[in-house]
Amino acid sequence: MVTNCRRGPAASSRPVASSRLIPVNIYLVPYTWIRHLVVALNVGGAALLGWYVFELWIVGLGPTFHGLHLYWNQAFEGTMFLSGLAGLIAFTSVLSEGSLRRRMMLWRMLYAGLAGAISFFSTVGTYLVFRMLVPYMSTAEYAEVVEDSSLVTLRYTLALWALAGVMSGLGPFVARKIQRFAARTFGFAVDGSVRPVATTWSDRFAELFYHTGGGFAAAVFGAAAWQLLGQYDKLGGDLYLASAAAAFIWGFGHGLLTWGIPDDLYAGWIRILSAERYGLRIPVDRVDGAPSERFVGHFPRGLDMYMPADNGVAELHTSFVVDRQHNYAVRGLSIQPTVVKRFLEKINLAYDARRPAPLETQLRMGDRIVMGTGNDVSEVEFLLLPKEEM
C-alpha cells in the first residue's frame, strides 16, 4: 500500500510551519456558528466582571476609602462607570484578538492597553463636555433637576451611553490601525509570517463603521436594558441587575458587532474518511495566504493527496482551490463519479466532456466528497480548522 502523500510544488515551497509563523490560538473555536459568539462572550464576561468591580468598589470598599480620602467625588461616578466600562470593553476586544493571533505578550498587552486608554479618556472627555451642555438642553425650570448628578434618566444620558459606545469602538479601531501600520512599516508585532498589506480607503471606512457603529449599537442596547430593568418594578425596579445587564449587553454586543474572528485565522483541510488511509489530511491554504489548488487522485507522483485506485479514484480525480478571499471550491476533474454531499443536497461534479471547463462548487465546512461508485468508493471531507494546525 502506498501511504505517502506528496505535495505539489506550491506546497513544497511553503515555509516550514512554526508557532512563530502560524500564530493562531483557537483550538476551542471551531469554524461553526459559535465562532461569531466567542469574542462577544469574552467581552461580555469582561464587562460583567467590570460591573462587579464597580459594585465592590462603591458598595464594599467605598466607605473605607472615603475615610482615607481616597474615594472619588460623586459627580464622577457616572464618568468613571461609563468610561471604565468603555475602556475595559475596548481592552478585552483587542486582547482577545491578540490572544487568538498569539501575539507576543508585550505587544498583546500594549495594544490592548492602548485601545483601553483611548476609549477611557475619550469617553471621559466627551462625558464631561456633554454634562456641561446638558443644562442648555432643558428649560430653565428643569435646569436644576437635570444638573442633579443623582438624576436617574435615560433621556439625558442616552447620548452619554451612545458616545461611550462609539468611543469603546474607536479605541480598538485606532489600536488595530496602529498595530497594522507598525507591522507593515516597521515589522513590529507582525501577526503570522507576512506583513499586512495596505487597505483601501473603503476598507478603512468600513472598519471604522463596524467599530464605532457596533460600539454605538451595543451601548444603546445596554442603555435600553438598563432603563427597562431599572424602571419597571416587575423587572426589578432598581439599578442593581439593571446595571449588570447593561454592562453585559454592551460588552456582548460590542464583541458581536465590532470585531469577529476573521476567516484568515482558519485554513481549509481535506481529510480522508475512507478506511484506506483514514484520517490523513492536508491543508488547502498556503501559509502566506496566496491562492492555491490541491489535487487528489491515484497518480503516484506529484499529487497533493494520493488515494488508492482500487477504491474508485481516478488518476486526477478532483482538486480543491482557495482564492485570496478564502473562498473554497472543489472541481471534478474526472469522468468517474464525483459527488459533493451535504445536508439535503448532492452535487454531481463528474467531468462532462461536452463542457469546456470542469464543474466546480463552493465548499462548506463538513462537506463530503464521494469519488467512485458501487463498492469502489473513496470519501474525503472538507474541514476548516485553525491555521495553527498547519
Binding site: L37, A75, G236, D238
Partner: protein, 479 residues
C-alpha cells in the same frame, strides 16, 4: 523615552484630577448602598437640635453600639430609607432625652409628607425625672359632691399612673404634688417635698386631695411659679441636680384663669401673654433640664374653635376669647366649660401638649403620656409609595409635632447608574433588610460559568456531531 514619560505624567495628572478624591466627610457613602448622604441641617429655630446620624462614626461618637442599625440604610427597590437620630441641646450640645412616639413626628420626603413610617426608640433613659403635678384647688373642683376632684383622685391613684411615676425603685424619679387656688402650695401644705416612694405618694393623695378648699383660680400664676420658683426651691433644685432630672409639669384645671370676680375673658389676655413669656424664658434657661409643661382641662370646651396656628404669635382678645371677650368668667364662662385655648397656648410655649378630658381614665392617659419613657436615640424607617422618588437627590425632613420645636433636613444622593444588591423582606416583616454584597457574586459566577460553558459548547457540539455522523471513526475496510 523622555517624551513617553511626559505623556505618562500628563495622563497621571489628568487621571488624578478626574478622580478628584473627595476630601470632606460629606456627602458620605451610605454603607451597603450606592447612595451618599449630606450632613444634616437642623432648623435654626429649633428649641432642641434633632441630630441625624449620617455615618457610623457619628454613632460611635455617641457611644451607640448598634452601629449597623444606627447608621443610615437605603434600598431603592423598596423605596425605603432608615435613619437614626438623637436630640441635642442647642446650647450645650449634650444629648437630650425625650419621650417620642410615631404620632409626634412628621416625616417628609422632598416636601411630600409620608404616611408609611415607623419610629423605634432605643436605649431607655435611666437618668432621673421630676413630675410636678399642679392641681386646681378652686371651689369649682369640689362642686357636685367633689365630682371633678374625685376623678383626679382616681386617676392619680390608678396603678398605671403610679407605676409610670415611679418606674423603678432607684430613687431617680420623684413627684411633686402641688395645689393652687389663690396660691400655689404643696398638697397638704408645708415645704415643698419631692416624693420618691409609692406609699408616701398614695398616702399624700389619700389624705389631702379630697379635702375641700376654695378660692379663685390663679392658673397662670401657678404655672409661672411652677416653671420658675418651684424649680429653684432648694430641695427641688438638689433633686434635679443630683439626678440630672428632667422636670415635667402637669397643670390641671376645670375652668378659666380667674383672679377676681369681675374678670372677663378679655382680662386674661395680658396675663396670658406675660405667663407665656415667663414659660418660654424658663425653658430657654433650663439647659438640658428644660421643663416641659403639659396642661389638662377637666371637663369640656367652653366654645368652638382652637388656638390659632403659629408658635410665636401673642394672644389677642379675639384669638383667645372668640366672641366672648367681654363675658364674665365667674359664674358664667367657667360654668360653660374650660378655657382650652389658654391651656393650648401654655402647653405650646412649655413644649408639651394640651388635653381636654372628662373621665378619670382620660386623665390617667394624660399622666401616662407625661410620664412616658425617654429614649436616648430613635430609629426611623419610612417607605415612599414608589421607588421613582429615589431617582434624584432628595431631602428628608423630620419634624417634631409637639413637645419641642425641632426639625432637621438631610439630603440623600442616589447613584444614578448602579445599585447595591436589592434588599430582601423576610416573610411577615414590614421592612427590608440589606442584602450582602456577596449576592453580586451569585450573579457574577453563574453568568461567567455560563459564558465559559458556551465557549466550550462550540467545540463540544462540533465533536459530538462528528461522532454521531461517524466522521471521527474509520469506516470498515472492504473485505
Amino acid at each position: 523615552m523622555r517624551a513617553g514619560l511626559r505623556v505618562l505624567a500628563v495622563f497621571g495628572a489628568v487621571l488624578a484630577l478626574l478622580v478628584a478624591c473627595q476630601n470632606s466627610v460629606h456627602p458620605a457613602p451610605v454603607v451597603g448602598s450606592t447612595y451618599r448622604i449630606d450632613d444634616d441641617r437642623p432648623d435654626p429655630e429649633s428649641e432642641i437640635f434633632l441630630d441625624v446620624f449620617t455615618t457610623g462614626d457619628e454613632c460611635a461618637r455617641q457611644k451607640i453600639n448598634e452601629t449597623t442599625i444606627c447608621r443610615p440604610m437605603v434600598d431603592r427597590g423598596a423605596g425605603e430609607v432608615h435613619l437614626s437620630f438623637q436630640f441635642r441641646d442647642r446650647d450645650t450640645d449634650q444629648p437630650f432625652f425625650i419621650p417620642l412616639s410615631r404620632d409626634q413626628i412628621m416625616v417628609s420626603h422632598d416636601r411630600a409628607r409620608q404616611e408609611s413610617y415607623e419610629l423605634i426608640p432605643h436605649n431607655p433613659r435611666t437618668s432621673g425625672q421630676l413630675y410636678v403635678v399642679i392641681i386646681d384647688g378652686s371651689g369649682s373642683m369640689y362642686e357636685n359632691d367633689g365630682e371633678r376632684i374625685k376623678k383626679v383622685y382616681k386617676a392619680l391613684m390608678s396603678k398605671e399612673v403610679v407605676d409610670a411615676f415611679f418606674p423603678a425603685a432607684d430613687g431617680k424619679t420623684g413627684v411633686l404634688l402641688l395645689q393652687f387656688s389663690n396660691e400655689l402650695t404643696q398638697l397638704g401644705g408645708g415645704d415643698l417635698k419631692v416624693i420618691q416612694d409609692k406609699a408616701e405618694y398614695r398616702q399624700l393623695v389619700k389624705d389631702h386631695l379630697l379635702v375641700k378648699r376654695g378660692g379663685f383660680t390663679h392658673l397662670y400664676k401657678a404655672v409661672r411659679e411652677g416653671m420658675t420658683s418651684v424649680l429653684v426651691d432648694k430641695g427641688v433644685r438638689q433633686f434635679i441636680a443630683s439626678r440630672n432630672a428632667q422636670p415635667t409639669l402637669i397643670a390641671l384645671t376645670d375652668g378659666f384663669n380667674n383672679e377676681e370676680g369681675s374678670d372677663t375673658c378679655g382680662s386674661n389676655v395680658p396675663r396670658l401673654a406675660q405667663s407665656l413669656d415667663v414659660v418660654k424664658k424658663a425653658r430657654r434657661a433650663g439647659g438640658t433640664a428644660k421643663p416641659v409643661l403639659y396642661t389638662v382641662g377637666l371637663g369640656k370646651r367652653y366654645r368652638k374653635g382652637d388656638k390659632p396656628e403659629g408658635l410665636n404669635d401673642s394672644p389677642t382678645p379675639t384669638s383667645l376669647c372668640g366672641g366672648y371677650v367681654n363675658e364674665r368668667i365667674d359664674s358664667n364662662l367657667e360654668v360653660t366649660g374650660i378655657d382650652h385655648v389658654s391651656l393650648a397656648w401654655l402647653a405650646e410655649a412649655g413644649g408639651g401638649v394640651s388635653f381636654v378630658k372628662q373621665s378619670y381614665k382620660g386623665l390617667a392617659e394624660v399622666f401616662l403620656t407625661a410620664a412616658a419613657k425617654r429614649y436616648e436615640w430613635f430609629e426611623l424607617k419610612y417607605r415612599v409609595p414608589d421607588s421613582i422618588w429615589h431617582r434624584q437627590s432628595f431631602d428628608v425632613r423630620i419634624s417634631l409635632l409637639q413637645g419641642y420645636r425641632s426639625s432637621t433636613e438631610v439630603s440623600l444622593h442616589p447613584n444614578p447608574w448602579l445599585d447595591a444588591p436589592t434588599g430582601t423582606k423576610p416573610p411577615g416583616e414590614r421592612w427590608t433588610n440589606l442584602t450582602s454584597l456577596n449576592h453580586a457574586l451569585t450573579v457574577l459566577m453563574p453568568m461567567l460559568g455560563i459564558l465559559v460553558f458556551l465557549n466550550y459548547l462550540g467545540a463540544a457540539s462540533f465533536n459530538a456531531r462528528r461522532a454521531v455522523f461517524r466522521r471521527a471513526k474509520p469506516r470498515r475496510r472492504k473485505p
